[in-house]
Symmetry: C2
Subunit: 141 residues, 2 copies
């Protein structure tokens, strides 16, 4: 049989890295704000754009649209996000951060950046890692 080492296999390594970094970071904000990874992604995306539809987040943040929908519902219930129907297209729902939501994102973003910085520092350097990851991502388009 061809010899094969699972822990040298690229998809396995990536899954490992993803689950560890994602969990490590999520632990930093879940306790403080009670939001999930999906909800974090939505508010992070909303912090870039003033007002966006569910569909846009679904496409740009690579989430299922039902994930966005459910995340938005929870975020609205928690007072972080406001939902209103698009005045021009009744099918669309426009999402935007509330003041409370903006405050939360304003707290999380520095945590995110410092988490990332520390990770890259511990891996030595960082620019080279970013470059290689980008190449991989492009290869998967």
């Amino acid at each position: 049989m061809t010899e094969f080492r699972l822990d040298e296999f690229l998809p396995y390594q990536l899954a490992e890295l993803a689950s560890r970094t994602s969990r490590g970071f999520a632990d930093l904000y879940r306790k403080k704000f009670g939001i999930s990874v999906a909800e974090w992604r939505v508010v992070a995306h909303l912090s870039q754009s003033e007002e966006v539809s569910v569909r846009e987040v679904h496409e740009r943040a690579q989430m299922g649209k039902w994930q966005v929908s459910r995340a938005a519902a929870r975020l609205e219930a928690a007072g972080y996000v406001r939902k209103r129907p698009d005045p021009e297209d009744g099918r669309l729902v426009r999402l935007a951060l509330t003041g409370k939501g903006r405050a939360m994102v304003g707290e999380i973003i520095p945590i995110a950046l410092s988490y990332e910085r520390e990770l890259l520092a511990r891996a030595g350097g960082g620019d080279e890692i970013r470059k290689q990851l980008r190449k991989l991502l492009e290869a998967l388009e």
Copy 2:
């Protein structure tokens, strides 16, 4: 507000890479052999070692032991894996591939390697990517 781009954020990029590569590869064997990612990991690990306990797979393959247990149960039902109690320690269950299981792994491994090769080739080179991923993994220990 501090500006922040989700698609430049390391944990997000890694999650993206992991889900795409994992899904892309899984599509290649799920249709043919009807096994899940967890089951693939178990058989891949079994292909390296003659006979191992559930606990060993759980530790080395970074899976919850209940995942290993359930995956092993399904694999046994499908005839890919044999389970028997350890003769020296009645608590342990020793897992091993059957002939059918070895045949399956023998088919999947070349697929895995060629999938990985193509991915790295499309990302240009590959050695540098592997090195950077290893550094990241070490940084997360």
